[in-house]
């Protein structure tokens, strides 16, 4: 059975790129463009990996992260956060909230794939 990744991202071209990359690695990619319903989607899909943009319509990636980590069920869920804001404060906040990996856009494809493999090794 294919591993599932939920990609929460609102930029179509970035969705296209990441979907292309992860599909070729054997992932089933689900897309979520709205922040407000993202947590609900995670509960429904129970993905093996969550890729989370920082700036989303409806609800910020940081708030989604905090809500998930406050639920015991998602304490171990690998969460890879991608942000275009590139401010130090965002990284500190995300790490305090329990993010698994924090990467800044624009990213290198190799690095993202390495991070995904690293986070889902077990």
């Amino acid at each position: 059975m294919k591993k599932r990744v939920l990609l929460v991202e609102d930029e179509p071209n970035i969705i296209e790129a990441i979907t292309f990359l992860l599909s070729r690695e054997g992932w089933h990619v689900d897309i979520q463009t709205d922040g407000a319903t993202a947590v609900k989607r995670v509960r429904e899909l129970q993905p093996d990996l969550l890729m989370l943009d920082h700036m989303l319509p409806g609800k910020s990636g940081l708030d989604i992260l905090i809500e998930l980590r406050s639920d015991d069920q998602f304490l171990a869920l690998p969460i890879l956060m991608l942000t275009a804001r590139g401010q130090m404060r965002d990284r500190v906040e995300a790490e305090a909230a329990g993010v698994s990996r924090f990467m800044t856009k624009p990213f290198s494809n190799t690095e993202v794939l390495a991070a995904v493999r690293d986070l889902t090794r077990n």
Binding site: N13, I14, E16, A17, T104, K105, P106
Partner: protein
């Protein structure tokens, strides 16, 4: 001479009886059974010391000489008691709260506890009252002489001088024994008060008895008496209105100002409510005292030889009728009048002299530490006893020097005018906060000088002190300075003249002095205490320092108040302060209380100076204290300035805080802006980088995929470029660095250019309707910039209009001063809550719908502002409408 011996025996028995009464009263008071001693009746009777030998004997003489005028002497006090009880009540309240010991203490305390004032008032009082004391001695010796020579025409065989001496000595002893037994006015003079109350009854009974004898025993009934009166000169009411007015005012003023009256009225008062009863009871007493004056005078004039002394009718009429017993009773009445006056007057004067003259001098000689090391209590009592002896000796001396000359009433009036000089300072002090020490001093000195010049000195008779030429023609022949016709006003009665000028100039000096001088802080404080006595009873000026040691304070208080009293005071205070220790903390409150207790014994000024010696730890005079008080007024001023400064600083701080908040807000905005820009730039870069890596890494891609990814890179690169263009544009516009290229052109051309630009190469087409556009509108503005606004608005409509048949209507109207252009689409109106935001930077309403950075409308707004116009968003009936206005 047998009758003389009998008389002396009666006198001695009477005095012994008074001793017993006084002693019993003091014993009862000491055992706490003295409530009846403090009844309103006793208070009222004690006021009767107003009726001295002058009124007992002199009123008859006065009536025999001047007719009904003697009534004024009773009228004044009656009017004061009835009509002025509100003033008396305030006076008594002030006296009680300030623990005033005398009239000098009252005036000194009111005007900043001034010792100078106290000394002046004391000297004036002694000078004013001495003739009065002489008068009492004279009356007693005269009445004694009557019994040796009933006609009263000669001195008889008895040595009057030695009689006067023995009387004076006896009175001194009585006063010393009962007036100076204790020091604290808390216990007051119970014995003395009850003794004078008894004497008040004796003199009233005696006078009534003689009167009844005269009317029914001699004249034979009321109607016969009336006939006799009508036939005599006395019955003729010859009213000299100016004299009557002056005498009534004078006796009323004297009633308030006489030291002995102040003593019984205020100092010995226990309960303000006694005044209510006294205000009607005392006038009745006076009425009864005056009831038989005229009958006795008329009968005396009828019965006795031409040259008989009318001042002694009260004695000589019964004697001439063989009524020895009645004469002795009458003598006792006169004796009571004289002794009670002398006792209380010397008591009051000795308090003043010891507190205001002896104690300050003694203190200044002792220097620092006297208050704790010397035996102050004994010094005070000793000073008081010596003062009593000296004052009575002065009276005796005056009696000897004046040789018993002059009618009793005349001497009494001179005294009255003298003490009446205190009245302006007293009334002003209680009712006028603006009254000052300088004013009081000025008024007193002026009034006293005029009294001396117009009344006292002329009373000795021509050529004794003032020569007759001076009396007749004035000093150095200056007519208008004649002692009895000042300022050229002649023909008025000497008494009226003296009353008028002394009180008028006294009051003027007092008011003028108060107005031109500035009160010191202590004066102002005391002034407020006195004038507002009903508002704030019991809050005297406080001690600010508490450097005084409790031990020293205790030692000093023991010296003044006596051991038991001081210990009681201290223990009570310790309990109030709530600790078990024997000595209380020397709090300002407590210091103030001790001062008040002590001032009851030694006067306000002395008590103040004594406490200040302790508190300051150095020899601090009252003057120093006043300087301190003045300094504190300056400190107050300085602190007010500081307060103003500090409020200025607060203001500045608030402004700084505001600026800081603004800067913080700007900084937050800047951070948000940078985050936004970062996001807007990095997002297309992410796609470009990711897809270019995919293409480079040679994944097995289909041709279509390759084309698609390459075109994404292309689109994102364009988006990036446009974003940078927009940012630069906006930055230039916002900084106002844009230079406008103003030309004249047709609005239709500008819009046509914009439509062409946006339609070329656009994926989504929108139908633009310009059919209603007025093609004649000409504009004079930067046409390229205006075209940019239209391009932004049209491309927005193209991107966001969700209608199945997207349409955009463009219309324009022109008025006298502006062109108004409407762009209306048929898409979904944007949500209400975002209306205010759409012109802000990066405010994309719906992120998913376009690749815009959210800068388009912000740029539009900046351009319109630069062009002098404006842009607004209005939700239309079905769609969105932008309204552009441009000045013509």
């Amino acid at each position: 001479m047998a009758s003389i011996n009998l008389l002396i025996a009666v006198c001695l028995t009477y005095v012994a009886f008074l001793f017993l009464v006084a002693f019993a009263a003091e014993r009862a008071a000491a055992r706490g059974r003295g409530n009846w001693l403090r009844s309103p009746l006793v208070y009222t009777l004690s006021l009767s010391i107003y009726c001295t030998a002058w009124t007992f004997y002199g009123a008859v003489g006065y009536a025999a000489r001047s007719g009904m005028e003697f009534i004024t002497i009773y009228l004044g006090p009656s009017l004061v008691m009835i009509g002025w009880w509100w003033f008396l009540r305030k006076l008594v309240r002030v006296g009680r709260t300030q623990r005033v010991t005398s009239v000098a203490d009252l005036i000194s305390s009111r005007y900043g506890k001034s010792n100078v004032l106290a000394i002046v008032v004391t000297i004036m009082a002694v000078l004013g009252v001495t003739p009065y004391i002489a008068l009492q001695l004279q009356s007693v010796t005269l009445s004694l002489s009557i019994f040796s020579d009933p006609t009263g025409t000669t001195d008889g065989g008895m040595n009057l001088v030695s009689a006067g001496f023995w009387v004076a000595l006896g009175l001194s002893l009585f006063t010393v024994l009962f007036g100076t037994r204790n020091l604290n006015a808390n216990e007051r003079h119970n014995g003395v008060v009850i003794a004078i109350a008894v004497e008040a009854v004796v003199k009233l009974v005696a006078l009534l008895a003689v009167g009844i004898f005269v009317v029914w025993g001699v004249a034979g009934g009321i109607s016969e008496m009336m006939v006799r009166i009508d036939n005599s000169d006395i019955g003729q009411w010859q009213v000299d209105s100016s004299r009557w007015t002056a005498l009534t005012v004078l006796s009323g003023a004297a009633f308030l100002c006489l030291p002995r009256m102040f003593q019984v009225l205020v100092v010995e008062n226990d309960d303000e409510r006694h005044l209510h009863i006294a205000s009607w009871a005392f006038p009745i007493y006076l009425m009864m005292m005056s009831l038989f004056v005229v009958p006795i005078a008329v009968v005396g004039l009828d019965l006795l030889p031409e040259n008989s002394n009318p001042d002694l009718f009260v004695l000589t009429v019964p004697l001439s009728q063989g009524q020895g017993g009645l004469a002795i009773l009458s003598f006792l009445g006169g004796f009571s009048s004289a002794t009670s006056m002398v006792i209380v007057a010397t008591l009051a004067l000795s308090t003043m002299v010891s507190n205001h003259v002896v104690m300050p001098i003694w203190l200044s000689f002792q220097g620092q530490g006297a208050t704790v090391s010397g035996d102050v209590r004994n010094v005070v009592i000793f000073a008081r006893r010596v003062s009593i002896l000296v004052i009575i000796a002065l009276g005796y001396l005056y009696y000897r020097v004046s040789g018993g000359s002059g009618a009793l009433a005349a001497i009494g009036l001179i005294s009255f005018i003298g003490v009446a000089q205190f009245l302006p300072a007293m009334i002003g002090g209680i009712f006028w906060r603006g009254a000052t020490r300088v004013g009081a001093l000025t008024g007193l000195l002026v009034g006293f000088a005029i009294w001396t010049y117009t009344s006292l000195l002329p009373s000795f008779g021509a050529d004794v002190v003032l020569s007759s030429p001076l009396l007749e023609q004035g000093p150095f022949g200056v007519e208008w300075l004649r002692p009895q016709a000042l300022f050229g006003i002649k023909g008025i009665d000497p008494t009226v003249h003296a009353v008028l000028w002394s009180l008028l100039l006294n009051t003027s000096g007092f008011i003028f002095g108060s107005l031109v001088s500035f009160p010191k802080p202590l004066e102002r404080l005391q002034g407020a205490q006195f004038v507002n006595v009903f508002a704030n009873s019991g809050h005297a000026h406080g001690w600010s320092g508490s450097a005084a040691q409790s031990e020293d304070l205790m030692v000093m208080a023991q010296r003044i108040l006596g051991g038991a009293e001081a210990q009681k005071l201290f223990r009570r205070e310790a309990q109030i302060q709530g600790h078990d220790r024997y000595l209380p903390e020397p709090t300002p409150d407590f210091l103030q209380r001790v001062e008040r207790e002590m001032s009851a014994s030694v006067g306000a000024a002395t008590a103040h100076a004594m406490i200040s010696q302790l508190v300051g730890g150095a020899s601090v005079s009252v003057q120093d204290l006043m300087a301190v008080a003045d300094e504190s007024a300056q400190m107050l001023e300085y602190s007010n300035q500081l307060e103003a400064k500090s409020s200025e600083l607060l203001d500045t701080a608030r402004q700084l805080r505001d600026v800081n908040a603004k800067l913080t807000q700007i900084s937050v905005q800047k951070d948000a802006f940078l985050s936004q820009i970062s996001h807007e730039l990095r997002t297309p870069m992410t796609s470009i980088r990711s897809f270019s890596e995919i293409l480079r890494d040679g994944h097995e891609l289909k041709a279509s995929e390759q084309t698609k990814y390459a075109s994404i890179i292309h689109v994102e690169a364009i988006r990036l470029t446009r974003l940078l263009d927009d940012l630069l544009d906006l930055s230039v516009l916002e900084n106002g660095q844009v230079s406008l290229n103003t030309e004249t052109g047709s609005l239709a051309d500008v819009i046509g250019h914009a439509v062409t630009t946006t339609q070329a190469g656009a994926i989504k087409q929108i139908k633009i309707d310009v059919s209603d556009l007025d093609t004649s509108i000409e504009l004079h503005t930067d046409l390229d910039r205006l075209a940019q606004v239209f391009i932004n608005l049209i491309s927005n409509a193209q991107k966001y209009c969700k209608s199945p048949e997207p349409r955009l209507f463009i219309r324009a109207t022109k008025t006298d001063n502006e062109v108004c252009i409407l762009l209306t689409d048929n898409g979904l109106p944007i949500p209400m809550e975002t209306h205010a935001l759409i012109f802000e930077k990066f405010s994309r309403i719906n992120d998913q719908d376009g690749s815009g950075a959210g800068l388009g409308l912000a740029i539009c707004r900046e351009i319109m502002i630069r062009l002098g116009g404006e842009i607004d968003y209005v939700p239309a009936a079905r769609g969105n409408r932008f309204v552009l206005r441009l000045p013509v």
